[in-house]
Assembly symmetry: C2
Homo-oligomer: 327 residues x 2
């Protein structure tokens, strides 16, 4: 079993790399080789050192996709993307990286398919950003994709390509719309969604966090571990039950900001909660109000994808993984 | 008012050209100039001869989109496409013409927007092929697009691009998912949907028609005139009520094959109906069974788009336009 991770240096890519290195297998088979690609050379995990190739590459460049798949990986995790804010700020870069690179990858696979019958499993990470307001309170698997960002547009187009290349037999694709990752490790960033993690992460580290929206705001979450588990699960399962619909919203935990704060209070007490500073930001609220609140993810559940059990469990996982916690 | 028709030599393009030439106006303004583009040089209508430019161009070629919009048309009708069967048979050509040409057009408009604030109305023809089985009996405006063909995939990707370029302010787009055109003029063709028109058109001309599916098959129809009216209407209306959702399923007539045949019987009698030869074709039935049967098109109706009143009216229109009819 040879796996390729495109976007291996990102937050999810690094966790996926570690998860594969620790298990040493994928889809019930021994992992003989792992190829890691990103715009910067990804770190090589110790456990698999002898079997890992790490490459720095711009996947929108000529021949880059062909080079990435030269070893004919059995499973390709395609996580490489520029994020929402960057795709919005730099229109051309967003389309080049998020759309063109995806198409170049699928085209390289198609050419190898035509030449030698190559047909890898491709696990593509899509996003909740494919959905745009107006949205129902609970979004079903049949909801139209009307992205309100260029990033969401590029991901929705990637989903369509994935389905068509799968239908034509060139690859065996599955697209996962990942929930918003929470608790996202690391420092506060400028993403509009940053506070969802910040109001847990910062108080647990004894630091102040800014909350720019009302407590009633509801959203859809998965822990970094759940997101990684989704990718690993997607690589190994039989996709025949999906038919031609190869893109799935992943299960998550639907929680309000108030429920997040209660979970924080239960584990870290009033002192932690007191570190959350309410600073309403109408601009952020306007963005967040158009986001999905909850999903009915029957198709993904039917294939065995499982959400975190609760927001408490998401917080507990963050504490266990980072050592953060009440002093 | 300057209008550009891309795909002006096709069946709908020619009708749209004639409709504009006859009215001499568009969106309540006098039509000063009309530019017609297709892979073959489109015919120039007499009524507008002095104001028409006709060009032969492959819109996927370098600079072709820039040339097509050089006159900065106020309204661009983008009908150019290779059809479903050809896009399925020639994968690369389908993506080149149906996806790349659309993107090149939108990019040419964006560059002109950035340089000089150009922002035309773009009327894009999409297709029911963006929908794929399993489908509910009546499809609402929120139904997910899961195309079961490369053509449908390319149209769905065009819809997403149209929305994003509109959202970013580069153009003012509206996408119309046209019903299956019936009665389609001309000779029988090899399209899987050909019999829907054939069982009306051929008997009215005193010729035999083959019916490859059961009488219970239901589908969604518009006359050629209704389709042309949709395009003209889309060019002139205020699109603000659409918000960011710029793609609409057009109203149609939902009719079964049995209802088609009854309409034929009413106008042309038993002798015409006797010319329909039932010749079940499981391959065609398998394709047709995955097609949509009916839609609830509230959003389009709210904007003033109107379907043909009945299948009888569709047949009557065909007779009036072609002179076909009971001997």
């Amino acid at each position: 079993m040879h796996a390729l991770i495109l976007g291996a240096a990102g937050m999810i890519g690094r966790r996926l790399t570690d998860a594969l290195a620790q298990s040493g297998s994928l889809g019930g088979q021994a992992l003989d080789a792992l190829t890691l690609v990103d715009v910067v050379t990804p770190a090589v995990p110790d456990a698999l050192a002898g079997r890992v190739t790490a490459q720095a590459a711009d996947l929108s460049g000529t021949g880059a996709a062909e080079t990435a798949i030269a070893g004919r990986p059995d499973v390709i995790f395609h996580l490489a993307a520029v994020v929402s804010g960057e795709a919005e700020a730099d229109f051309e870069k967003g389309y080049r990286i998020n759309l063109d690179s995806t198409r170049l990858l699928f085209e390289a696979i198609r050419q190898a398919h035509l030449a030698e019958g190559y047909r890898p499993r491709v696990v593509f990470t899509s996003s909740l950003a494919v959905f745009g307001a107006p949205l129902p309170p609970v979004i079903g698997d049949d909801m139209i994709l009307t992205p309100a960002s260029s990033y969401g547009t590029q991901k929705a187009m990637g989903e369509l390509l994935l389905s068509d290349y799968t239908r034509r037999g060139f690859l065996d694709g599955i697209g996962l719309r990942l929930p918003t990752i929470c608790v996202r490790p690391g420092k506060p960033n400028k993403a509009a969604s940053g506070f969802f993690s910040g109001i847990i992460r910062e108080p647990l580290a004894g630091q102040e966090a800014v909350l720019p929206v009302p407590d009633t705001v509801r959203h859809w979450f998965a822990s970094p571990r759940a997101a990684t588990d989704f990718l690993v699960h997607a690589a190994g399962i039989d996709l025949a039950p999906l038919g031609q619909r190869r893109n799935l919203t992943m299960p998550g935990v639907s929680a309000t900001v108030a429920e997040e704060i209660e979970a924080l209070r239960r584990v870290a007490g009033e002192r932690a909660v007191a570190l959350i500073r309410r600073e309403p930001d109408p601009a952020i609220l306007r963005i967040i109000e158009t986001w999905p609140e909850a999903f009915a993810t029957e198709r993904a559940l039917g294939l065995g994808f499982r959400a975190d059990p609760s927001f408490d469990a998401i917080v507990a996982l963050h504490i266990a993984e980072t050592g953060a916690g009440p002093a």
